[in-house]
Amino acid sequence: MNNIMNVNDKLATFNDNFSDSADLTEVAGRSLWQDARIRLMRNKAAVVSMIILSIITLMAIFAPWLSSHPFDEVYWDFIQVPPNAAEGFWFGTDENGRDLFVRTLYGARVSLMVGLVATTMSLVIGVVYGAVAGYMGGRIDNIMMRFVDILYSLPFMFFVIILMVIFGRNIYLIFVALGAVEWLTMARIVRGQTLAVKKKEFVEAAHASGVSTTKIIFRHIIPNILGPVIVYMTLTIPQVILTESFLSFLGLGVQEPLTSWGVLISEGAKVMESAPWMLAFPATFLAITLFCFNFIGDGLRDALDPKDR
């Protein structure tokens, strides 16, 4: 699965020294990103994951049109019935007689939305914070990173739970809380990368030839730290989705009549003996989504950072 590797890197790793990989790449005339894309496309698990995720996303977006049942309508004649294609209850109904198929898709909306928004938030905070710390260096860097270290050792999950308890269970709060938790690692990664790139010859060369700082940051530094950032972002999304489901499972996340996979799983777990489908469908959707994001993240990492893993 991870056998994607460019010959140049392989030779560089086991051969004489690293300069020849640069030379060979130049001759081959492919950019780093093109190389990465080719490697990613060779990774079957990642490609299949991307396809599946696209399907789930499309299903989530078009949920209202995919089922004849509204997500909050109660069918008194169909309380907790198993999957029933004739009536259009493809995933069965829950204990309140609501269509599980459309509710699972609405759960997907919440999960994907949380994943996207909270990750974007963590991305923005983390990249700005990390880039500033890394680029400024010295004392400022020291203080900023010490602050991150302290935050790191806080048991954030518990604070998020307290937040949810005290300030009500509202979805926007989840976005903010999870985004605020996840930016720490991003900041560390960005800072480390910025520090490394800053010392590279091409940045020094740009400095020496009088290129402006803004231009250096946007033309030289950001493109070169993008790889790890994208990889980490892809791995943050499932993390956030998982955390939201965890909170919802505990009853601290999304509230009725809206739903999320965590809520559905929690409801399903309570009646799993009599109505296993109520657990099976949302759990499967959650697991598949997490699978896909992780496979894509791994694939991206292997594609952008080709060590033989």
């Binding site: 010959v7 051969n15 060979l24 001759v27």
Partner: protein, 344 residues
């Protein structure tokens, strides 16, 4: 074994790497022999395949690497030997030291441990005896306060000292052949000379053969009896140091010699540089691999790969233009004999 006995004979060795972009031939049809007590210099650009030949001998190729051919070391073919059998040879009669002494020692183990384990494994020595022997060896390679330093971790040594430790480890079982893969490339110039001197001394003292892999002709001139020049995964020229430096036949060898700076040269003249890029092993040019960079290239060079010809005793070269006019008439402008003498 008499003085002139052959210690290593490599026949038609090929090394291939399987990669997603196709198979890469790192070394092709390599054949050479090495006599006891002699030293061979292997020279070539990065990626010319010079290291991979010896990684193959040591069984150290990456997992996707394959080797065919034969390498008779002390009467035994060591290519494709199972690891268990190979371990009776590696570190015992055949040792190797590497380019980067900073990362070649295990940072988590004391030097004593990294040395004694060799003696315990191969010679069944007791811990105490092995430690004594290790200290002796460290003293031999010029580590001051060896008795104290043997109990330190690698990061407490400087780069040059680490390379000395590497050499000490390699020599613990008094090997018949030491392969040195660019042992001085990562070191400061002053340290480089010290390490080369050390190797030179040890070679005489222990009577072992040395293979010196390098891209530095100066190193070869000062250390080796024979030279093997590699380009694009093939041997392009061989010969004794004297013969090859004074009368290089292959245009690539000539280019290498000309591109060496000389103290007594004309300082107003530009230093010669071989035009073009080192070859991409995945997409070697048709015909002779050097042909795109060669000023003497003809149609024939572009179509057919030249055969290796032995044109003199112990001298071979792979070039279509061997017999043509330029070799006979035009001596290398930057007469390399002076280079050799200058370095020696």
């Amino acid at each position: 074994m008499n003085e002139n006995s052959i210690i290593l004979e490599v026949k038609n060795l090929n090394t291939r790497f399987d990669t997603p972009d196709g198979e890469v031939a790192a070394a092709n049809e390599i054949s050479f022999t090495l006599k006891k007590g002699e030293s061979l210099g292997v020279v070539g650009e990065s990626g010319s395949g010079k290291t991979q030949i010896f990684m193959a001998l040591m069984g150290l190729l990456a997992k996707n690497g394959k080797t065919t051919g034969e390498a008779i070391f002390k009467g035994q073919n060591i290519l494709g030997l199972p690891v268990k059998e190979l371990n009776k040879v590696r570190g015992v009669s055949l040792s190797m030291i590497f380019q980067d002494p900073m990362t070649s020692l295990n940072p988590y183990l004391k030097v004593s441990r990294q040395m004694t384990e060799v003696l315990i494994e191969h010679q069944g020595m007791s811990q105490k005896k092995a430690l004594e022997r290790s200290i002796e060896m460290l003293e031999l390679v010029g580590i001051p306060e060896a008795r104290k330093r043997v109990h330190m971790y690698p990061h407490e040594f400087s780069g040059g000292m680490r390379q000395r430790v590497m050499i000490a480890i390699a020599l613990l079982c008094e090997p018949d052949l030491l392969i040195a893969d660019e042992p001085t490339t990562a070191l400061d110039v002053t340290i480089q000379a010290q390490i080369l001197d050390l190797l030179h001394d040890l070679k005489d003292k222990l009577g072992m053969s040395i293979v010196m892999i390098t891209h530095d002709l100066g190193v070869i001139a000062s250390m080796c009896d024979h030279v093997m020049v590699m380009y694009g995964g093939r041997v392009v020229e061989t010969g004794s140091v004297q013969a090859l430096f004074s009368d290089a036949k292959h245009p690539y060898t000539r280019g290498l010699l000309q591109s060496m700076p000389r103290i007594d040269g004309d300082h107003n003249e530009d230093l010669y540089a071989i035009p073009g890029q080192p070859p991409n092993l995945q997409a070697l040019p048709q015909g002779c691999a050097f042909q795109p960079r060669c000023q003497y290239a003809t149609n024939l060079c572009q179509q057919e790969r030249p055969q290796t010809t032995e044109f003199d005793a112990g001298r071979t070269a792979s070039c279509h233009q061997l017999s043509s006019a330029f070799h006979a008439s035009s001596p290398v402008k930057n007469n390399p004999v002076n280079v050799v003498e200058g370095v020696l």
